[in-house]
C-alpha cells in the first residue's frame, strides 16, 4: 500500500449560482491522518469531499493532493477512492468483480484479479464469499466490500461519505473500530464525512466542524470538545449548557459574564476568543453537563436550581434542573452504584471548575 499523502484545501470557495456551499475553506490534512468533516446536513461537507475526489471543481482556490494542484484532473485520474453513502456496489457484478473493478479498468487479467480479490476478502474477513452477489450480503458485509473495493485501487487518499449512516447502532459502533484499524494498518489518509459527532471523535486524528459552508474549527477531538471555538461548535459537538449574558470583567484568560438569569459566573475564555472579548460584549458561556458537581464552589462558580426530574441512562443519571427565571440546566452524574437520587422539587447548589467552562462572543447555536 502506498503511504498517505497530504491533502490541502487552499482558500477553496464552491458556489452553485448565488448559493455559496463552501466559503473560504483552508485545511491542511497531514498524510496518514484520519480526518473528519463534521457538521449538520447541508453544511457543505459532502461538497468538499466531491471537490477533493474531482466530481466538482472549486469556484475559487485550489485543491492539492500530495502537493500537486488537482485543477483539471478528473476523478478517474486522481489518487483518491471514494466510498459512497449508499456504497454504490455494482449489483450485477459478483463481489470479487466489484472489489477488483479498478484493476479490470487497468486491464489486469482475471486470474490476477481473482487472486487480489481473495487477498482483500481475507482482509475484510469475507473469505470464500467472492462469488456471491452484493444483494446476498448483509449490511455490514456490503460495507466491508465497499471498503475493499476502494482499497483495491491502492489510493493515496480514501474518501468516505457517511458510509456508516445506514447501519444499525451496534454495527455502526463495531465498524468505527474496524475502520480505524484498517486505516492504521494501510496507513493512508482517510477523509471522513459525518454528521455524527461520536463517529468523528472516536475515529479521527483531526476534526473540522462545519456550519453553513464555513469551517468553524479544526482540531483534535479534545480541542473541539473541550475548547470549542464558536457557540455553534460548543452546542453541536456533545451536549452543553449555555448561559447568555454580557462580559462584566476580564482578567487575563478568565472572564466574568453577567448572565441573564443565573447571576455573575466566572469562566475561562476559550482559546480562540482570547483577546477578542471586551467588557460589555454579548457573550455565551458553556458548561457541559458532566462537569457540574453537586456542592458549592466559589460565589462565581455556583448555581442553584430546582430539580425537575431525573433520567436513568445506565452508565449515568441525567438531572434536569430549573434555575432562576425558568433557566433549564442539565447535569450528568456517573452511576457509581450509589443509588442516590435527588428529590423532585428540591433546590440544589452545584458548581464547576473554572477550567471546565468556556466563554466566547455570542453567536449562532446549533439547532436542536
Amino acid at each position: 500500500m502506498s503511504s498517505g499523502v497530504d491533502v490541502t484545501l487552499d482558500n477553496v470557495w464552491i458556489k452553485f449560482g448565488d448559493f455559496v456551499a463552501v466559503r473560504e475553506a483552508n485545511v491542511n490534512i497531514k498524510g496518514g491522518d484520519f480526518f473528519s468533516f463534521l457538521g449538520p446536513s447541508g453544511c457543505g461537507k459532502t461538497t468538499i469531499l466531491r471537490a477533493v475526489s474531482g466530481f466538482l471543481n472549486p469556484s475559487e482556490g485550489r485543491v492539492l493532493i500530495g502537493g500537486k494542484d488537482m485543477a483539471g484532473i478528473g476523478p478517474n485520474k486522481r489518487p483518491t477512492a471514494l466510498i459512497f453513502q449508499n456504497l454504490a456496489l455494482f449489483p450485477l457484478m459478483k463481489v470479487w468483480e466489484n472489489i477488483t473493478f479498478s484493476m479490470e479498468v487497468k486491464g489486469a487479467s482475471a486470474v490476477e484479479r481473482r487472486k487480489r480479490a481473495d487477498e482483500l476478502l481475507d482482509m475484510i474477513a469475507l473469505q470464500g464469499q467472492g462469488d456471491k452477489l452484493p444483494s446476498e450480503l448483509s449490511g455490514g458485509q456490503k460495507q466491508r466490500v465497499a471498503i475493499a473495493r476502494a482499497l483495491c485501487a491502492e489510493p493515496d487518499v480514501l474518501l468516505l461519505d457517511e458510509p456508516l449512516s445506514a447501519l444499525d447502532l451496534k454495527l455502526r459502533q463495531h465498524m468505527r473500530t474496524e475502520l480505524r484499524e484498517i486505516q492504521q494498518r494501510v496507513g493512508i489518509t482517510f477523509i471522513y464525512i459525518t454528521h455524527d459527532q461520536g463517529e468523528a471523535l472516536t475515529m479521527s486524528d483531526s476534526v473540522a466542524v462545519m456550519r453553513n459552508g464555513i469551517i468553524d474549527q479544526i482540531g483534535d477531538g479534545h480541542a473541539v470538545y473541550d475548547t470549542p471555538a464558536t457557540p455553534f461548535v460548543a452546542s453541536f459537538v456533545g451536549e452543553n449548557n449555555v448561559f447568555r449574558g454580557k462580559i462584566s470583567a476580564i482578567n487575563g484568560n478568565e472572564a466574568v459574564i453577567a448572565t441573564n438569569r443565573s447571576g455573575e459566573l466566572l469562566s475561562r475564555i476559550t482559546p480562540a476568543a482570547v483577546g477578542k472579548l471586551k467588557v460589555g460584549d454579548d457573550a455565551m458561556m458553556f458548561v457541559r453537563p458532566e462537569v457540574l458537581n453537586v456542592g458549592e464552589g466559589t460565589d462565581k462558580t455556583t448555581i442553584s436550581a430546582k430539580v425537575l426530574n431525573e433520567e436513568f441512562e445506565g452508565n449515568s443519571y441525567s438531572v434536569f434542573l430549573e434555575g432562576n427565571g425558568g433557566k433549564r440546566i442539565k447535569m450528568a452524574m456517573p452511576n457509581m452504584g450509589q443509588n442516590q437520587h435527588s428529590t423532585k422539587g428540591e433546590v440544589v447548589s452545584f458548581s464547576y471548575d473554572v477550567n471546565n467552562a468556556v466563554v466566547m462572543p455570542a453567536g449562532e447555536l446549533a439547532s436542536e
Binding site: 475526489s53 478517474n76 449508499n86 473493478f101 479498478s102
Partner: protein, 309 residues
C-alpha cells in the same frame, strides 16, 4: 409448487372482488381478444379456400397446401421454390432487424441523457415534445415523410439548393423513406423502456466507476448497459415485432418494386380473397418473429420476466 401460492397471494392482496375483476379482465383480453382470433387464424391456415357452398362439407378438410405454397409456389411453376415470396419474407425480417438496431443506436444516447440528467422540468418538457407528434395518426405521419422524401420534397430541395446533388435522389425507391418511416413509427417504443430503466440507475454507480478510473465506454459496457438490458430487450422486441408486422409505412413509403411481407398477407386477404392463404402467411410471420425474439433473448441471456419490468 409455487403457482397455486402465487394465485392465493394475489387474491389475498387484492380481495376476492377486485382480484376476480382483474382476473376476468385479463383473461378476457388474452382469451377472447387475442387467443381465440389467433386460433381461428391458425385453423384457417390449414384449410382449403372453398366457395361457401362447400364449407363444412367433406371437401373442407385440413391441408398443408397453404404453407407449401409459400415455400414451393404454385404447382407446376418453373422454379423449385417460391422465390419471390420467400425473398420478400427474408427481406422483411432482415429489414425489421436493421430498423430495430438503428432505433437502438439512435435511442440509447437519448435515453441515457434523459434518464441521467438532473434537468427535472426541462426533461419532462422534452419527453412531452417527443410524445405529441404521436397524436397524429400513423398514415398521416407516413404521408408527411413521403412529402419530405419525395422527388420534389423538402430533403431533395435542400440538398439541391446546397449543391450536393444536381438531380432529385429517389429516396422512395431506394427504400430510405421506408426505413426512416418504420424507424420513426416505433421509435418511442424503443426510447421509453430504455429511459425508464436508465432513470432507475443509481448515479452513484456511475460516479463510483468513474472514481475507479473507468472510461465512459467501460462505464456503459459494464454498468449502464447491463442495468438497462431489460429495457433494451423490451424496446427491441416491440420495435422488431411491430416493424415486421407494419403495414401503413410500407404501403405509403415503400418503393414500387419493394414489397413488405405484410403487404402479401394483405393481398391474400383483400385482393385475392383467399383468407386461408393469407392466414398461413401471417402465421409464418408471427412464428418466425417470435422464434427470432426468443433466440436473441437466449443469446443475450434475457429472461422473459425482465421484459415485464
Amino acid at each position: 409448487m409455487r403457482k397455486p401460492k402465487m394465485f392465493s397471494e394475489f387474491f389475498k392482496n387484492n380481495g376476492l372482488l377486485m382480484g376476480g375483476i382483474l382476473m376476468f379482465l385479463v383473461s378476457f383480453w388474452i382469451i377472447v381478444l387475442i387467443l381465440l382470433p389467433q386460433l381461428s387464424m391458425l385453423d384457417f391456415s390449414f384449410r382449403y379456400n372453398l366457395p361457401p357452398a362447400l364449407q363444412g362439407t367433406e371437401a373442407d378438410s385440413y391441408t398443408l397446401d397453404n404453407y407449401r405454397y409459400l415455400v414451393f409456389g404454385p404447382e407446376g411453376a418453373s422454379d423449385a421454390f417460391n422465390k419471390v415470396d420467400l425473398m420478400v419474407f427474408v427481406r422483411t425480417i432482415l429489414a425489421a432487424m436493421a430498423v430495430t438496431v438503428l432505433n437502438l443506436i439512435l435511442c440509447y444516447p437519448l435515453a441515457y441523457f434523459l434518464g441521467q440528467s438532473k434537468g427535472g422540468g426541462f426533461i419532462r418538457l422534452l419527453v412531452i415534445m417527443l410524445v405529441i407528434p404521436y397524436w397524429i395518426n400513423e398514415i398521416l405521419r407516413a404521408f408527411a415523410l413521403r412529402i419530405i422524401f419525395g422527388d420534389g420534397g423538402v430533403l431533395n430541395g435542400v440538398m439541391m439548393s446546397l449543391g450536393l446533388i444536381d438531380q432529385p435522389y429517389d429516396f422512395i425507391n431506394a427504400d430510405i423513406a421506408l426505413y426512416a418511416g418504420l424507424g420513426y413509427a416505433y421509435i418511442l417504443l424503443m426510447l421509453f423502456p430504455m429511459y425508464n430503466v436508465i432513470e432507475s440507475l443509481d448515479r452513484n454507480q456511475i460516479e463510483a466507476a468513474r472514481d475507479m478510473g473507468a472510461s465512459w465506454v467501460r462505464i456503459h459496457r459494464r454498468i449502464v448497459i447491463p442495468h438497462a438490458k431489460p429495457g433494451i430487450a423490451s424496446g427491441m422486441t416491440m420495435v422488431f415485432m411491430l416493424s415486421a408486422g407494419a403495414l401503413a409505412a410500407p404501403q405509403v413509403l415503400g418503393g414500387t418494386s419493394s414489397l413488405w411481407f405484410t403487404q402479401l398477407v394483405y393481398q391474400w386477404f383483400n385482393d385475392t380473397l383467399n383468407w386461408q392463404q393469407g392466414a398461413a402467411y401471417a402465421i409464418v410471420l408471427l412464428v418466425a418473429s417470435i422464434a427470432i425474439v426468443l433466440g436473441f433473448m437466449k443469446i443475450f441471456k434475457v429472461n422473459m420476466g425482465d421484459i415485464g419490468k
